[in-house]
């Protein structure tokens, strides 16, 4: 036979208001409160205080800056991005669904990546109707010069032959906010088109990787300081992640020559 429950004391009332009681005790206290209106009022008041304090200090969910993410400190930048990307892809796979899905470590109210991803996906779809500038033999160099002239600053075209993506060409695209983006077009051995959409913004964004899906096209977004990069194509998230990391590595190589980081 179990001992009779302890009488209800003030500590119980605080703990009840704070939801810190084990369920059994909480039930007992709740029952006790039905016969003790004064204590009930007291508990309600404390709960109300807690609620106000929480509202007062409620933070809209926002991504943690890199400096508050110790998991990132120990990793190289690439690993950190890879880890984020895996988290993002896992989020997507768990979520499923169709249409536009943005999954990442940041909430949807942070609209910039979302808007950019829409632009990039639209530009990707438009490709069916527009032929990009041919790269041709030695075309990468010419393409580079042409893009640099169009954009008013140098661009480096990442060589993705290491992951079997052949450069087909590129063009510039005017986005909704009247900024010119570069769109580079690649083809895999099966003839599927992949595009890398590059846009130069006015501010640096913290490192993050985000995953979007539009129809049968998947898209990875990541910023590189002021540059926003989006790689998309008809690949499953795992494969696209490999391609995106390869792209990231190629661009990282170019970082040393700093060409991709010139601001317009």
């Amino acid at each position: 036979m179990s001992a009779p429950p302890e009488p209800v004391g003030e500590a119980d009332l605080h703990a009840h208001a704070d939801d810190r009681l084990p369920p059994e005790r909480a039930a007992f206290v709740a029952e006790w409160l039905t016969h003790h209106p004064e204590a009930r009022q007291q508990v309600a008041l404390w709960r109300c205080q807690n609620e106000l304090i929480r509202q007062l200090h409620a933070e809209p969910p926002e991504p943690l800056p890199a400096r508050l993410r110790p998991g990132m400190w120990a990793l190289g930048r690439r690993q950190a991005l890879g880890r984020l990307a895996v988290a993002a892809a896992v989020g997507l796979l768990a979520g499923g669904g169709a249409g536009w899905i943005g999954r990442g470590l940041v909430p949807p109210h942070d609209a910039e990546p979302y808007d950019l991803a829409r632009e990039a996906a639209r530009a990707h779809r438009d490709l069916a109707e527009t032929l990009p500038l041919e790269a041709g033999p030695d075309g990468a160099t010419r393409l580079l010069a042409w893009l640099a002239q169009e954009l008013g600053h140098p661009v480096r075209v990442p060589d993705l032959s290491g992951v079997s993506l052949r450069l087909l060409g590129g063009r510039t695209v005017m986005n909704d906010r009247n900024r010119k983006a570069a769109q580079l077009v690649y083809e895999d051995p099966a003839g599927a088109r992949f595009t890398l959409y590059l846009l130069w913004a006015d501010w640096s964004a913290p490192p993050e990787f985000r995953f979007f899906r539009s129809g049968d096209v998947n898209l990875f977004y990541w910023p590189e300081d002021a540059l926003r990069c989006m790689l998309m194509g008809p690949a499953d998230p795992d494969h696209l992640l490999d391609l995106a990391l390869a792209t990231y590595d190629e661009m990282e190589k170019d970082r040393h020559t700093a060409v991709n980081h010139a601001t317009p």
């Binding site: 003030e10 704070d18 810190r20 807690n50 106000l52 509202q55 200090h57 943690l64 998991g71 120990a74």
Partner: protein, 168 residues
């Protein structure tokens, strides 16, 4: 879960508490970053198992109490009209006033009562963990919580002009 992942999972609540303590977002992020760096450098002192969160709060608290508060020896004045800073969503006029009054009431609480009231409301730490974080016995936590809540009640009810004291 490895240490870093676990560390990171505590950051949102550390940050919330630091912001409530400091009422200054950048300063709060600095405080949390200091705390994380210190935790990493003292990782060998952490014995594993449960209790990482109270340990982190304790580090954060020590930095706050020993360094920041001391630096802020002079009074810090709250802006008279801070309604603009209040969280969105409290759109009804009465709700905003209520929040503003709670903000002032919290600022009037003696520091050690404010710590407890905020820890309990914002972090989800158990009373024992709060006690560990502050380095006091759990009985002290309970009595400060009780007195803090009574103070809040009286300030909010407009009873007993609160003792005029500087906001530290």
């Amino acid at each position: 879960m490895d240490f870093l992942t676990e560390l990171e999972s505590c950051v949102p609540s550390l940050r919330r508490y630091a912001r409530a303590l400091l009422r200054d977002r950048d300063g709060a992020d600095d405080l949390v970053q200091d705390c994380l760096e210190r935790a990493l450098s003292r990782r060998h002192l952490w014995r594993g198992g449960q209790g990482l969160r109270p340990w982190l709060f304790r580090i954060l608290h020590n930095i706050y109490a020993n360094e920041i508060r001391r630096r802020r020896a002079g009074p810090v004045f709250q802006p008279i009209d801070s309604a603009g800073d209040l969280p969105a969503g409290s759109d009804s006029h009465d709700a905003r006033i209520e929040l503003r009054e709670m903000e002032s009431a919290l600022n009037l609480l003696p520091e050690e009562q404010r710590y407890i009231v905020l820890l309990v409301a914002l972090t989800g730490l158990s009373y024992q963990e709060c006690a560990d974080a502050l380095g006091v016995p759990v009985g002290t936590v309970m009595s400060r919580l009780s007195r803090g809540r009574e103070h809040l009640r009286r300030f909010l009810a407009g009873e007993a002009g609160p003792p005029l004291r500087r906001v530290k």
